[in-house]
Symmetry: C2
Subunit: 366 residues, 2 copies
């Protein structure tokens, strides 16, 4: 079997033991809370990993774009939520085609989007379940009040082609306890059943339980990343995904440069701390600056200056944001570590590649 250390760089690599453990851990957490699991596939964009999530107990999946849903429907997934307003004639055509073959649920936050979906579904003779998105603080979409939710729910309940399902939010916040209760009361008086409440956010499963959610959507938990670790929702050792890179320059005093930058890691979640990537083999060194193809490692915390990475060294970098990084890689290599575990300062000659996955839902911007 090929060794990870022999891969050309940059290459996205996934520790299969950690990936499997992450999938099992979240499923067990949601099982114990009595919440259905609807993982978001945006983190990996790979049907084979989605099948692992379903096999572990997930009831369905979440896709953010129709293009992702089309790829996953082709791969056999039959219960898909798109938690996003779908707007425009080409998307109505694609949505109704999907609804002919799989169970589609879509979130909306306004009457215009809801009406267009209802009319398209009615004309096509299909039914889509609509959830109402609630704004919990991202201020990018979502109704702002229980009254607005009630008004929209009434409109949906009165429309052919669509079924009113309930509510959706991201991330679930404690304020949803009261919001949910009030919407439920109002709709009960209207005779409209509120069956589903889809909450979300890696690490927010207890909040979803408290808010009365029926299901929970997590994405990043499958790979984990520095942002999840900083939020206290995983251990560093539970980060399954990293990018193997090569040191290409040591000319600038105080820095070493790797062959991956924002085109490899994204500039997502750039931290004011200046720490934008964790280097597994050199925990004192961190990815500080990026341009498109250069990543600059800050060496200032290195206690033994003679141990600095040298040109040609290959290292694993855990990025800030797994989902954005995934969207930049056409291929992902799944490996298992054999013998001594990484993290002890040795390079990873004992990591053997078991699978090479294409990333078919990468780049599905539509």
């Amino acid at each position: 079997m090929q060794r990870v250390a022999d891969l050309d760089t940059p290459s996205m690599v996934v520790d299969l033991d950690k990936l499997e453990a992450n999938i099992q851990r979240l499923q067990a957490s949601l099982d114990s809370l009595g919440l259905a699991n609807r993982p978001h596939i945006k983190t990996h964009k790979i049907p084979a990993i989605g099948h692992m999530q379903i096999a572990a107990g997930a009831k369905g999946i979440t896709c953010q774009k129709l293009g992702e849903a089309e790829i996953f429907a082709d791969a056999g997934f039959d219960d898909i939520l798109i938690p996003y307003n779908l707007v425009g004639a080409p998307k109505m055509e694609r949505l109704t085609r999907l609804a002919r073959r799989v169970k589609m649920t879509v979130a909306v936050d306004g009457a215009v989007a809801a009406r267009a979906i209802a009319e398209a579904c009615d004309a096509a003779g299909v039914e889509v379940t609509l959830l109402i998105e609630v704004d919990t603080g991202m201020h990018r979409a979502g109704v702002q009040s229980p009254e607005d939710a009630q008004t929209l729910a009434r409109a949906i309940a009165d429309s052919p082609g669509v079924r009113f399902g309930g509510l959706m939010c991201y991330p679930t916040k404690p304020a949803m306890v009261a919001f949910h209760a009030e919407v439920r009361d109002r709709l009960t008086r209207d005779g409209i059943p509120l069956e589903q409440f889809s909450g979300g956010g890696t690490g927010a499963q207890q909040v979803s339980k408290d808010a009365g959610c029926t299901e929970h959507r997590s994405g990043t938990y499958s790979y984990n990343d520095l942002s999840v670790w900083r939020a206290g929702n995983c251990e560093l050792d539970q980060c399954a995904m990293s990018v193997l890179v090569t040191v290409v320059s040591t000319s600038c005093p105080g820095f070493s440069t790797i062959d991956g930058g924002s085109k490899t890691f994204t500039n997502d979640a750039l931290q004011t701390t200046g720490v934008n990537g964790y280097v597994r083999e050199f925990p004192e060194i961190y990815l500080e600056k990026m341009s498109e193809e250069h990543g600059v490692l800050n060496l200032s915390r290195l206690t033994d200056a003679s141990a600095r990475p040298r040109v040609g060294d290959k290292i694993h970098v855990i990025p800030n944001h797994a989902c954005g990084t995934t969207n930049l890689h056409d291929v992902v290599y799944g490996y298992r570590a054999h013998g001594s575990r990484p993290g002890d300062g040795t390079l990873s000659g004992d990591e053997l590649i078991e699978v090479e996955w294409p990333v078919p839902a990468r780049g599905k911007i539509r």
Copy 2:
């Protein structure tokens, strides 16, 4: 012909009149300065646009990764510079294969990278020209002093398999006048000819001329973007590329949300001003926040609140960073505006698509 306004969104679109004018304008500028033009293809990643640059007078092209060079060599480009340390056995194999069929020039900044290329080329029976990268302030790669450049030039001149060509920097800075002169003096004493000096940076062609460069590399000038405009190196009306998006939510007071975020535009060059994208149809509105699939437009500067974008409206957004945006799009639509010009507040029903380009060098991280 299909109208831009009928495209599904998000879609990257390029105004062909502006693209052609941008290509002609830079070529004329470099012609008048007597500098050879070696455009960087990372901005567009499309061979057809590279051929337009060659037809206008460019002597060759610049690619940042071997994967880009392989795509462009396949498309008929025969003089390619990679201004980047290539490190590792797989890259040596790929470089020597390329050097068998096209003229390859590679920049290095240290003896390890130079020696590996020389040994690989010697073993393969090919020759590659090496330039020495000089650090002009990016602090990511490049020799730090004329002495270091001399030492490395001597090593290269003594190596079989490679030819010493000269210097390379990005971006060209005024300090390069003295640096170049001192390196030239030192190498003259050594009997080593310094034939080439490749400078770079959109807008920096006069600085390259002053520093004694023989050629100039620009990338972003072909499309232009908000960053180039902010730097004073283009007019807004010279931005040829934009992304057509649809307004999908108006639920959050003070904001409208579009169906493209960091997965469509990147988070590159996020500005402290909070302005991360220019909206052509609504100049008072700007792209403020992004998550992966949401872009949040700030409406606070809108003088006529009744004129705010509505759900379903399609608008053109000029992004901060053209090159990063290009890397997220599998397809680009080239159009020409007919009839009334955009910018007068009307939507763009008169933009007709002439060409649909795949982006074959997208995602070439290796």
